[in-house]
């Protein structure tokens, strides 16, 4: 809250330094504010891995790591890495992989697509079986996405397209479904 107030005080050049300083000081705050949202979203990402069941074909073998791939701009930053660090889901070590350009590799089980990415639908359709696609914004599901993270009522919520999930061969726990803002079949 403090940060909002301080943003309005940027009028004078003299006090610009002060403003800059203030800005600098608020950066961590901003970062912190910004970080909470993506921190939560990162947590959600992690959670999804815990509530989802991939088909065995999705993994090379039982010991293969589970990759969370970030396609496009990475909004999470270190937060996701810290969160994922050391997590093991169903025997698969969780790792984070960043891909700047499509197509994503075949080894991703979770794919977070930058909502600003072009030709979303094509990317999604081109994906193999066993990939859980997550992105942000309402339109994602129309594009064939599975889980769309949204902000609803100042809270991070998500919508799920169950059919798409099932088509990909992934099973989602009812727990997740019950918590979703909306579930589309």
């Amino acid at each position: 809250m403090g940060c909002a107030h301080q943003l309005r005080r940027i009028d004078w050049a003299g006090p610009c330094v002060l403003a800059l300083a203030a800005l600098l000081l608020t950066l961590p705050c901003l970062a912190a504010e910004q970080a909470p949202e993506y921190g939560v979203k990162a947590a959600f990402l992690l959670n999804f891995t815990k509530f989802a069941d991939w088909p065995p074909a999705a993994f090379a073998d039982g010991q293969a790591p589970m990759q969370i791939c970030l396609l496009g701009k990475d909004p999470f930053g270190r937060v996701l890495d810290d969160l994922v660090q050391g997590e093991i889901v169903r025997g698969h070590q969780l790792t984070v992989r960043r891909i700047t350009q499509p197509p994503p590799p075949q080894t991703c089980q979770v794919l977070f697509i930058d909502p600003a990415m072009k030709e979303l639908r094509k990317i999604v359709e081109g994906l193999p079986q066993g990939v859980l696609t997550i992105s942000e914004g309402d339109g994602f599901l129309h594009n064939g996405g599975m889980i769309a993270l949204v902000i609803d009522n100042r809270r991070v919520r998500f919508d799920i397209d169950v059919a798409a999930v099932e088509k990909a061969g992934v099973k989602l726990s009812s727990q997740v479904l019950s918590v979703a803002r909306s579930v589309t079949k």
Partner: protein, 602 residues
């Protein structure tokens, strides 16, 4: 509150049975209820645990995705379960901290504590803490609280069932008891009735019925045996009593029995016939009215003495019969003792000795007269005899020259005859005097009499050079004069009939029964056994020569005296060695007196 011990057996049986049954049932019931409640508690816990797990699982999503509403919704499903009083989900914010995430509070009484409660069960009912685990890691906690209403309900149902069963069992048990109790109580009651009947009526002929073969049956058998024994004992007693009565009634004597204190409790019919009165009139001490006034005092004294000492009673008294005449009776009584030696009763008899007594009396008087006559006769005879003797002596000496040889011889005969007559009369006098002299009841010291006798014989003793000794002599019941006569005669004889050796004479005494046996032992010429008894005859002498003076009446006198007092006299002797004269005298007044009474007839 009567002691349990004193209650009737029926009651005891009932109490015991119901108490044991009751206790068993109570224990079983309580045990059951306890066990069941424990088990049910466990079941409830498991149930709750399952529920908690389910809820926890169902809350995973809400908790992970931080959706309290979803969690609350999940929790609200708990309202289906009426026994759940509340639920709280805590979200782990840090390894140590967890904050309240969602709650279910159906009533105002319940509210979730802000911080996760400890692991223990708190508050009423049952609280379960279940960790909410996602992927092996705890992301929160679920606290689920349930009241124990189900438990209590179950307990209630269970208890009432148990109670119902309990009462029903008791009822059944008592019914059964009622039926079966009789098996035990009836034989007992029968026996009790039988014994009561016997003790009330004294009828020993009845027998108890044996109803069972157990210990009661044995008791009945023994009881019947006992009754039979008592019955036969009583029959025996009756028989003995009948025998006694028959004996007592058929005897000519009067029979009586008395209690230890002297009161007469039985007179046989002879008594009633004699007195002409009924038993009631003469029982206890009523018989005293029939005793002669002269005899009654001594009678009572002797009777009381016998009673006190427990010694046989013996008395002669006069009883007045129905016609008012007194008759002499000999009364005797003996005490009967029990096993410990105490006198239980006296049995006595009174024999009519009147005729006998009169005869005795007459005889005694006759004898007394005779003796009196003999005494005075012999006394009077003395004088003329003396005259004869002396004057024949005078004539012989003074007119010696006038007489011729024959005349002198005749005169000699006169003299001798006179002498003999004189001695005879003197001895007769002594003999009769021995019979007549007064008896005294006082005992006399024999040693004193002995000394007197020795003194009286001092001349002959000295002349013979005799040594006369004696043991310590006791008191004897005999007149001192008489005893002196005996001693003097015996010692005198011992000195007189001596052998060539200086006479040694010794008097000894030995108690034999109720008599003293004296012995006078000498070392004289002895006596031929053939004449052992003859020597005691009056005027009997064994040697007719004049070597030994005396008429031979001495021993007769001794015999007369000794027998007068109830004793005996005899001799043991060996010719050439010596003789021992024995005589017995009583050591008590009674024997002496009764002997005297008897012997005055002879």
């Amino acid at each position: 509150m009567r002691r349990f011990r004193d209650r009737p057996i029926k009651q005891k049986l009932v109490i015991i049975t119901l108490a044991t049954t009751g206790v068993a049932l109570v224990l079983a019931g309580v045990g059951n209820v306890l066990v069941d409640s424990l088990l049910f508690r466990g079941y409830l816990r498991r149930d709750l645990t399952v529920l908690a797990r389910v809820i926890a699982d169902n809350s995973l999503g809400a908790l992970s995705f931080n959706d309290p509403n979803a969690a609350a919704q999940t929790l609200s499903a708990l309202k289906e379960r009426s026994h759940i009083t509340g639920a709280c989900i805590y979200r782990k914010t840090s390894p140590e901290k967890a904050e309240l995430f969602a709650q279910y509070a159906p009533t105002s009484e319940f509210s979730c504590p802000a911080a996760q409660p400890g692991a223990e069960v708190t508050g009423r009912g049952m609280t379960l803490i279940e960790p909410i685990v996602l992927n092996g890691r705890s992301i929160g906690t679920l606290a689920l609280q349930s009241d124990l209403g189900e438990l209590y309900e179950r307990l209630r149902i269970y208890s009432s069932t148990i109670l119902g069963v309990f009462l029903a069992s008791l009822l059944l048990a008592s019914l059964l008891l009622n039926r079966l109790r009789a098996v035990i109580t009836t034989p007992i009651a029968r026996l009790v009735r039988a014994t009561t009947h016997v003790s009330h009526t004294g009828d020993y002929s009845i027998r108890a019925e044996k109803l069972s073969g157990d210990e009661m049956g044995l008791l009945v058998d023994r009881f019947n045996d006992m009754l039979a024994g008592i019955q036969s004992a009583f029959r025996e007693i009756d028989k003995q009593r009948a025998r006694f009565h028959f004996m007592a009634e058929s005897m000519p004597q009067k029979i009586f029995t008395a209690r230890p204190d002297g009161e007469i409790d039985y007179f046989n019919p002879q008594w009633m016939e004699f007195t002409g009165l009924s038993f009631d009139q003469i029982k206890d001490w009523g018989w005293t009215q029939f005793v002669h006034p002269d005899d009654i005092d001594e009678n009572m004294r002797v009777w009381k003495q016998a009673l006190e000492a427990g010694e046989p009673f013996h008395f002669e008294q006069r009883f007045r019969n129905a016609a008012g005449k007194y008759r002499w009776h000999l009364s005797r009584a003996l005490p009967m003792r029990d096993a410990t030696g105490n006198v239980t009763m006296w049995i006595g008899s009174n024999t009519d000795i009147h005729e006998q007594k009169e005869r005795e009396e007459a005889l005694r008087r006759a004898n007394e007269d005779l003796q009196q006559f003999a005494y005075s006769a012999s006394h009077d005879l003395q004088e003329p005899i003396r005259n004869v003797t002396i004057y024949s002596e005078i004539v012989a000496s003074r007119y010696h020259s006038v007489l011729d040889a024959e005349g002198q011889q005749f005169l000699g005969f006169l003299k001798e005859g006179g002498h003999r007559l004189s001695t005879l009369v003197r001895d007769l006098l002594a003999y009769t005097r021995a019979s007549m002299a007064e008896l005294n009841d006082q005992p006399v010291e024999a040693s004193e009499v002995f000394r007197n006798s020795v003194t009286a014989l001092s001349e002959p003793i000295r002349e013979a050079g005799a040594v006369v000794t004696a043991d310590e002599l006791p008191k004897v019941y005999i007149g001192d004069v008489h005893l002196q006569q005996v001693f003097q005669n015996l010692i005198g004889n011992a000195v007189k009939y001596r052998s060539d050796a200086p006479p040694r004479i010794h008097i000894a005494v030995q108690p034999i029964g109720r008599m003293w046996r004296f012995s006078v032992q000498d070392n004289g010429i002895g006596i031929d056994p053939e004449y052992k008894e003859k020597i005691f005859g009056i005027f009997k002498r064994l040697s007719h020569d004049n070597k030994y003076s005396g008429t031979g009446i001495g021993l007769a006198i001794c015999q007369r005296v000794v027998e007068r007092y109830g004793g005996r006299i005899w001799v043991e002797s060996e010719p050439g060695t010596g003789s021992t004269f024995y005589f017995t005298l009583p050591n008590n007044a009674q024997t002496a007196r009764s002997a005297a009474i008897q012997s005055s007839g002879g």
